[in-house]
């Protein structure tokens, strides 16, 4: 395999991972539409969902171009089965209560924020352009969920407990965000993507800073579940895709 082909293949894999993670989280958030705890929050969550789906479209469109088989963003979103989804398993976890949703959002957004910031220096022009576009939105998301965790953690006994439970329950899915695929090494050498260890350190610092302020304890390391990028998912993703893909599966090629 020539170098260019190997780079393309690795990049395709990387883009699907990013595209799928944003898409699945965006879909999860959209489940809050009409169910938000207050009107403003209902609107905020759906705004963030739209941004995530927008970012996902950019990644998947580029993935389709690299793949060169004529697949559009929609083909990639609606016609791949669960084993071919590469999203990190954190984002497919159920919404649970509001504290759980905000904690999941925060753990992913802190990661996404640092990754996009690093991608601003990518040698790949398209990846850089996507990062430049979405990091501004991600900054607002990070601010928003951090604010909530601080309010919930420092709120009542009940809200504090739920917030602590949320991080305790979700912690086992966090390592999976930092899993590297075999081809990533090549992308790092080409300075297309950053070293994942660096992003992990930055993420860890942000998580500690916000959770400290929220008076929430950062969980101890214990069993970590991994495999999202390899297509190994928890049972929740299948149900999510069944709903999200229903129209295109039942009525192939249906358009608005």
């Amino acid at each position: 395999m020539s170098d260019a082909t190997a780079v393309n293949k690795s990049l395709l894999n990387y883009l699907l991972w990013l595209g799928d993670s944003n898409l699945v989280l965006g879909h999860r958030l959209s489940e809050w539409c009409g169910h938000g705890p207050i009107l403003e929050e209902d609107i905020a969550i759906t705004n963030i969902a739209l941004d995530l789906i927008g970012a996902s479209r950019l990644y998947l469109t580029y993935a389709g171009e690299l793949e060169g088989k004529g697949h559009t963003e929609d083909d990639l979103a609606y016609l791949r089965d669960v084993m071919n989804y590469k999203n990190c398993i954190l984002v497919e976890q159920l919404n649970g209560d509001f504290a759980n949703t905000m904690m999941r959002q925060f753990l992913f957004t802190a990661f996404s924020y640092h990754l996009q910031t690093a991608l601003l220096n990518s040698t790949n022009e398209q990846l850089r352009a996507i990062a430049e576009k979405s990091v501004k939105e991600t900054t607002y998301h990070l601010r928003h969920c951090s604010d909530w965790l601080i309010r919930l953690g420092g709120g009542t006994e009940e809200s504090h407990k739920r917030t602590q439970d949320a991080v305790d329950n979700l912690w086992m899915f966090t390592d999976d965000m930092f899993e590297v695929a075999e081809g990533d090494k090549l992308l790092v050498t080409e300075k297309i993507v950053p070293e994942m260890a660096t992003i992990y350190k930055q993420w860890e610092a942000t998580v500690k800073q916000v959770l400290d302020e929220a008076t929430i304890k950062v969980p101890q390391r214990s069993y970590m579940m991994k495999g999202g990028r390899k297509g190994i998912h928890t049972e929740h993703l299948g149900f999510l895709l069944a709903e999200m893909q229903f129209m295109q599966r039942a009525y192939p090629g249906a358009k608005w």
Binding site: A44, N47, T139
Partner: protein, 161 residues
């Protein structure tokens, strides 16, 4: 054949479907207009990645140019440089305020946003600075929700991006 300036004039008649006082030119999403022997080439950039109005805006531009008798054109979307509220024209900012939306106060969000720095926003109705942010996310992706304590009215703020 139309000149570049004429094309810009036509585009002044295409309005943002969500903020209908702003033309696509005021909004700063028209990045380039070129007219050459092959036709008219227009380059636009999205405001927000997930902005549902972008498809509508592109369709509206097509419809407007067709209405003006221009058939030979193409519209290209670029992501970089990323759109910023700094590109909203002064005229656009004035129109926003008149419409009751507080215009963006400073440029792109940066680290200061993460460290509790929220700028005071003037109420577009009464001009008071006794206002409070209720939510970073308003009725559309581009707006935040504020309330004015002086006139007791809620208002939209076109947040910086």
């Amino acid at each position: 054949m139309e000149t570049r300036e004429q094309i810009f004039d036509y585009l002044q008649e295409v309005f943002d479907p969500e903020v209908p006082v702003l033309s696509v030119v005021d909004l700063g999403i028209i990045r380039k207009v070129e007219v050459d022997a092959e036709g008219t080439h227009i380059t636009i950039t999205p405001t927000y990645t997930g902005c549902p109005a972008m498809n509508v805006i592109e369709e509206d531009i097509r419809a407007k140019l067709t209405e003006k008798g221009i058939n030979n054109f193409d519209i290209k979307t670029i992501l970089s440089p990323a759109w910023t509220t700094d590109w909203i024209s002064d005229e656009g900012k004035r129109k926003l305020k008149e419409y009751g939306i507080a215009p963006p106060e400073r440029s792109s969000p940066d680290k200061s946003l993460l460290s509790n720095h929220i700028k005071t926003i003037k109420c577009p109705r009464c001009g008071s600075t006794d206002t409070e942010m209720r939510s970073f996310f308003g009725s559309t992706a581009c707006k935040a929700l504020y309330v004015c304590h002086a006139c007791k009215e809620p208002f939209d703020y076109f947040k910086c991006l």
